[in-house]
Symmetry: C2
Subunit: 340 residues, 2 copies
């Protein structure tokens, strides 16, 4: 197995900078769409053979250095007892959003083997078949809480912040329960064979640094400290993290994922030399002509040199409209320009 | 007239820190809603007596130190030749979004007196009646371009970035035309009596620092350099600015508005001592209990002391759901805790 990605996550020297893309198994790939014509999104997540199949697609098509398990961030939320549906227009919809102590109390901390066996089976299939490392993942506690409180997509996260500001005790209780779920879920993934894990804090960037410190950071720290009992690298990605850089380094993740709204060199200056960084090309930059994509890749690779190590990635998930050949050109450019 | 706000904008010592709120004339006020039951949103913007009436409401109700002209960011866009409608569900809708050279060519640089006389009349009425300074405003060029290209609200700004990345020459031509519009529009507002102006760059925060430098900054700089021929203070607000702080100080605005996602003291460190800062309480923090609002006000006032000067504000527009008494408590706390 090609272990360049894992070695880079550990801060070891590698022959080139490894690269993968958030949401690399997804709608921009015709091969993925072909699978989706036969099953709906949730069925795809819950059918191990199919989830494994689409997980492998970008490895073959793009030549990325790691695979990330195809699943949805809300799978463990459903297992906690919420009703989950996907609408093509509105995205995920969780009925009966969590807005009270009774609703928090009703949630369970699920056993992964009992309630999400398909995730573990997909991991096992993938480990037998993949030629690159497999990344497991979970939403981070604050981010999962926003979905569960809002019930779907939101602009201002007002319901989340209302609970946070008006019922901080309840919000902490809620986050605590989610954190236990996240830890158990990721430990099961590691046990099944995940060789690295990423915590996605997609919405923690809507918090002021002060609120991040109180409502997001402690739960990420607890998750990571439990996960550190295993030996796999832990990646922590916060979208819109520019104002939170001096906080996220307190998480003690091995790798910090950085979005595109911050200059990677500035981010490294703020984060310091202890961390491997992951990122941070604007997903929209994949609509540039190829020679411009190459220029940006070079620039980011140069900035990544200032960190302890660098895993190349986009600054957020790849967009469904992205031309596949441009994603492939990006991967190829990362490999070519970083060869040592 | 109480000139505390203007003096603070100029970096002069004041007896207390002045405060106003972005979107302070708006839906959270029952008095505003009463006016809206009789006219639709665009009619309200275009009826000088009514626009003046709602502009004054927060001065009386909250005790803020400045009034900001009630209008919409898209008024000059309509005057450039686009068709504008407001839908309760979807917000602003601009039909025939700008996606081609022909569409850019069709746009005009409007004469404010001819095509937006209601704005100037509202300013004149307000100057005769207000006891606090009046702020005029415009969207900044990049932000106006996003609305004109997307045609409405958007998640990823993909159409904007496609034009930016695939047709940079056209995008620059487009921004140039918008900039001429913004400058003429703000100069007319100043001539009519606006005592300060704010440029709202609500969406520039979706740009990487590199793209901000190429596609937003030059047009803000040109706008500000033209406006500096007048003597009124110029405020420049970028939402989600944490990754752009070392760029926005190049604009030479008098006052830099900062959103809540960045610690104000960190922002001042990055921006330096030359600027007055404006901000930056999370609008959702107005859902806190009053004593907690006071704590946050104190903390932000303390951080503001490190800058050349400080105008207190929210970090983004006040939300429609906000309890009026909490907004009033915030204003009162700013005055009380900053008294020198």
């Amino acid at each position: 197995m090609k272990d360049t990605f894992l070695r880079a996550c550990r801060g070891e020297k590698t022959d080139y900078t490894p690269v993968w893309l958030m949401r690399q198994a997804g709608r921009y790939l015709p091969e993925y769409q072909a699978v989706r014509t036969e099953v709906d999104f949730l069925t795809l997540c819950k059918t191990p053979e199919l989830a494994a199949k689409v997980t492998k697609q970008p490895v073959d098509i793009l030549g990325v250095d790691a695979a990330i398990l195809f699943s949805d961030i809300l799978i463990p939320v459903e297992a906690m007892g919420m009703h989950l549906e996907f609408s093509d227009k509105k995205g995920p919809v969780l009925s009966d959003p969590v807005r009270s102590k009774a609703a928090v109390d009703r949630l369970v901390i699920p056993d992964t083997e009992d309630s999400m066996p398909f995730v573990l089976e997909a991991i096992k299939i993938l480990r037998a078949e993949l030629t690159v490392p497999l990344i497991g993942f979970s939403g981070a506690p604050f981010t999962l809480a926003t979905y569960m409180i809002e019930g779907g997509s939101t602009k201002n996260f007002l319901n989340t912040k209302k609970m946070m500001f008006q019922h901080p005790g309840l919000f902490h209780l809620f986050l605590d329960k989610i954190t236990s779920t996240v830890i158990a879920y990721l430990l099961s993934q590691i046990k099944a064979g995940a060789q690295a894990v990423q915590l996605f804090d997609s919405w923690a960037g809507v918090l002021s640094p002060e609120d991040y410190r109180e409502f997001a950071l402690p739960y990420v720290k607890r998750s990571i400290s439990e996960l550190k009992k295993e030996t796999v690298p832990i990646i922590y990605f916060v979208n819109d993290c520019a104002g939170l850089l001096s906080e996220i380094k307190k998480t003690r993740a091995d790798v910090l994922g950085v979005d595109w709204r911050v200059d990677l060199r500035d981010a490294v200056k703020k984060i310091g030399k202890k961390f491997v960084v992951q990122g941070n090309l604007d997903p929209c930059a994949l609509f540039l002509p190829k020679e411009k994509i190459e220029e940006r890749v070079k620039d980011i690779l140069w900035k990544g040199e200032f960190a302890r190590g660098h895993v190349f990635n986009l600054g957020h998930g790849i967009l469904p409209e992205t031309p596949v050949e441009n994603a492939r050109a990006m991967v190829e450019a990362v490999h070519r320009f970083s060869e040592r």
